[in-house]
């Protein structure tokens, strides 16, 4: 079968250097220059781990004798263009052509490949470029300096009289040039520079220019291999039905009819799921449909969305853990004119286009896994735990990801597949039907928010925000859940950009019955920015001010955000007349290290049906590595956020998820998609994250536009068309 290799970093002969140095350099096995470098761990610092630890490299660069450059790194390509952007950063400082850089996916190894911001091997949180930006540039610049040094020594000239371009060292006075490949072995013997000189933004020739994506050509010809495309020799195909209620168990299975279906080979019955193994997926699906399974629904048999809503609503009436507090909110709110509101947002499924799947071969002496996942070390660890094999006997072939959006930060599907594969002789590909993918998943939490604010002279004098909801971090990264505070649940609420003298944000943890929660594109800010920017709009209306000027007047401490707001207002024609029933709404945000201001334009008909006409977005995400990728991520992020705002809600009845496929869990389609204009602001600041901000911007800008069109304030998602129909046209 066609299969992605699982590369391993080459062994090296290391030159010992001080442990405080950021770079190790040596000769690569088989010739060439080998660099190991470390990316400092912000997450480690955040949770109190000492930063002054021994040098532990987590990324590797090899330059071979033909001048080829290979970077081994842990980030996964899932459509965000990271393989191209990271290659651009290295090619820039190393002064090689982009085509000469090859990226290799790293095998699972937390010690080697931890994401420096998150602390273990993971792609997520819009962190890839932010984490690798400086370390990769320093490593590239060091290698360039050593290659120049090697050439200059050979020519007996000063290194300062030499330069580098397109993979060659050039001595301009004499016109002599040598390709990197001929210098690598000598360069490997040199001492790395103590502080390599980085290029200034003016000297960039790749960063900031649009490069074509490196992963795309195979994706237009059908050659690209996703996890679901793995076909190890003699693979069988399976599909499964897990308990329809979380925590339920199988009582008994009648499989007579299923066994009679041609192609069905085996029925696997585990305590909480049943799978049918067959010659092809269709036979497995027919077999599953023919089973008669009796379930014990267990303790969650009576859970409904209403039960969960009541749990959250009463939780929101309790005092929470203080996330941030400035001034005296209680005093100020007690005296002044007060505005109050509650908001809530629903559970959401991720529904990536590639349904959950995992191919597993459990042998007597080890286990092999083919999957596309954002957390490969966790995939390996869960398989090791289930099978009892040591981790090094679990081989994970990670693949391209057909949509992650947070769903592939979980390994529940891998665990189920390994348990099924333990009962099967030979490799088995387990594919979730779309119904199984939507109904037996982990979901974006349902949040309930309570807000209060006071105004004086069209300025906010006090702001109080209490968030009630599930803690994803407490389950997913327990060390990051400190003193009862989930920093993700309040992200976008605590980093409030407006000037306000009295400010207070609290978090109340309330785990819902019968449903598990996990990250969803845009994470905490997707919920919080909707709530904050909607409530800001309410305050602007209360103050009788225009939504842009109300914000402008209170963004004095946030000049980059203010610049975005001014740009978007001008590009969107803010204030210009609009037809009846059409409204404009604005939202601003400072999350993931990037600043965005967004204006939505939407129309509401007399039935409350919404047409999203236009989105205009001004973005300051610092230095832009690949501008076209940034624009694409904002465009796609907005569509992803709009889909949820317009259509998406996971509900429960009798403990069961009621949505099942794209007919009743709707996605935005091309005929509904608005025009999207993205304007990038030139900046020399460090790069910010860009995979998630667009998703965050969609709902608040839309809801504010719908208010402008109808006078109806939407305090819950998805948008309520009946409420809009009852509103009067603006």
């Amino acid at each position: 079968m066609p299969e992605r290799p699982t590369p391993r970093p080459p062994t090296t002969r290391r030159i010992p250097i001080s442990r405080r140095d950021f770079l190790k350099v040596g000769a690569a096995a088989g010739g060439g220059l080998f660099l190991e470098f470390a990316v400092p761990s912000a997450a480690a610092a955040k949770v109190g781990v000492a930063s002054d630890v021994a040098f532990s490299p987590n990324a590797f660069i090899r330059i071979d004798r033909r001048g080829g450059v290979t970077l081994t790194m842990p980030q996964v390509e899932m459509g965000q263009g990271v393989y191209t952007s990271i290659a651009m950063i290295l090619a820039e400082e190393l002064d090689v052509r982009l085509e000469s850089v090859t990226l290799e996916a790293a095998p699972p190894n937390d010690a080697l490949y931890s994401n420096p911001v998150l602390g273990f091997q993971v792609t997520g949180g819009s962190t890839s470029i932010r984490a690798f930006w400086m370390p990769l540039r320093r490593a590239g610049a060091s290698a360039r300096t050593m290659l120049i040094g090697a050439a200059a020594a050979g020519w007996n000239v000063s290194p300062a009289s030499c330069g580098a371009t397109d993979g060659e060292v050039v001595h301009s006075a004499s016109g002599r040039r040598l390709p990197y490949g001929s210098l690598v072995d000598r360069a490997a013997q040199r001492k790395p520079p103590e502080s390599p000189t980085l290029k200034t933004p003016k000297e960039f020739r790749l960063i900031g220019t649009t490069a074509h994506r490196l992963d795309t050509p195979d994706k237009v010809t059908g050659k690209a291999l996703f996890g679901i495309d793995a076909l190890p020799p003699d693979v069988k195909f399976a599909t499964l039905m897990a308990s329809p209620v979380l925590g339920g168990k199988v009582i008994r299975v009648d499989d007579v009819a299923a066994r009679a279906i041609p192609g069905v080979r085996q029925i696997v019955v585990l305590d909480d799921l049943v799978a049918v193994v067959a010659d092809h997926t269709w036979a497995a699906k027919q077999g599953l449909d023919a089973l008669n399974i009796a379930w014990d629904d267990g303790p969650n048999a009576h859970v409904t969305t209403e039960v969960i809503f009541d749990q959250l609503k009463s939780a929101s009436e309790r005092a929470g853990v203080v996330a941030k507090s400035v001034g005296d909110v209680a005093k100020e709110l007690g005296g002044a004119e007060r505005v109050e509101a509650t908001y809530h947002v629903p559970f959401l499924a991720h529904a990536p286009m590639e349904p959950m799947n995992c191919t597993v071969h459990v042998r007597a002496d080890g286990c092999e896994i083919w999957v596309g996942n954002q957390v490969v070390t966790r995939a390996q660890a869960v398989a090791a735990k289930i099978t009892g094999f040591p981790k090094d006997k679990v081989i994970v072939h990670n693949h391209l990801i057909g949509g992650g959006f947070g769903r592939r930060l979980e390994v529940d599907g891998i665990a189920k597949s390994v348990r099924i594969a333990q009962k099967v002789d030979g490799p088995v590909k387990v594919i979730w039907t779309r119904e199984e993918d939507i109904q037996k998943a982990l979901y974006r939490p349902f949040y309930f928010d309570r807000l209060e604010a006071s105004l004086s002279d069209a300025k906010i004098t006090a702001w109080k925000h209490r968030v009630a909801g599930s803690s994803i971090l407490a389950r997913w990264a327990p060390p990051a859940f400190v003193n009862g505070l989930d920093s993700d649940a309040v992200e976008g609420a605590v980093n409030f950009p407006y000037e306000v003298p009295n400010f207070h944000v609290e978090y109340v943890r309330q785990e819902p019955s019968g449903i598990q929660t996990c990250f969803w594109r845009g994470v905490g800010p997707t919920h919080n920015i909707f709530v904050v920017e909607s409530f800001i709009d309410e305050l602007a209306h209360k103050a009788g001010k225009d939504a842009v000027s109300f914000r402008r007047n209170q963004l004095g401490r946030a000049p980059r955000l203010l610049a975005c707001l001014d740009l978007v207002a001008s590009k969107a024609g803010w204030g210009e007349a609009l037809p009846k029933r059409v409204g404009r709404g604005v939202a601003v945000q400072d999350v993931f290290g990037s600043y965005l201001a967004t204006v939505a334009e939407a129309e509401v008909d007399e039935h409350g049906e919404v047409t999203v006409k236009r989105f205009v977005c001004a973005v300051d995400c610092g230095i832009v590595v690949n501008p076209d990728t940034v624009v694409a991520q904002i465009e796609g992020g907005i569509i992803f956020g709009l889909t949820a705002a317009l259509h998406s809600e996971i509900t429960l009845a009798k403990g069961r998820v009621q949505q099942s496929n794209f007919n009743n869990y709707r996605m935005m389609r091309i005929n509904e998609a608005p025009k999207i204009e993205v304007h990038l602001i030139q900046s020399d600041e460090a790069p910010g994250g860009i995979g998630e901000p667009g998703t965050v911007a969609a709902a608040p800008a839309l809801a504010n536009a719908l208010f402008a069109a109808t006078g109806v304030r939407l305090r819950k998602l998805p948008i309520d068309r009946q409420a809009l129909a009852a509103g009067k046209a603006a």
């Binding site: 237009v220 010809t221 041609p262 699906k285 590639e354 057909g402 992650g404 076209d628 694409a632």
Partner: protein, 164 residues
Amino acid sequence: MIELRINGQLRSVDVPANVPLLWVLRDVLGLTGTKFGCGIAQCGACTVHLNGNAVRSCVLPIGSIGNRAITTIEGVGATPAGASVQKAWLDAEVVQCGYCQSGQIMSASALLATTPHPTDSDIDAAMAGNICRCGTYVRIRAAIKNAAQIRAARAKDAGGATDA
């Protein structure tokens, strides 16, 4: 045994006539470029051509195909419309995760083969059956228009040939 004409080749498969083409392509013949997304003809990830028309292979029993020509993403580059769509997709950097794009390209190629200069509403009608979760719709629309121009220019160079 059932015989199928796939990308110009005759293939024999030993599976029941009610099996949808999608699973025969993917699981039996190893042509994994055609994707599974929903199983109920709601998302378009499994789109292939039958005599040049876009169809959802997840609900198409192989016994109903007969000798009609099946074209998949692996073979569509050999048609003028398919080649121009693939080029336009790369030029416009349409693709993100890429999983739905086989189906998008098959739907777009079938559209261009019959409608050389599609309007926005032609594009909506032909492409609304294809979901993209990454949200590449803005670029799909632009790329289809570019593909129409690429194809027209190539047809002109080739002396006015207008085959699909």
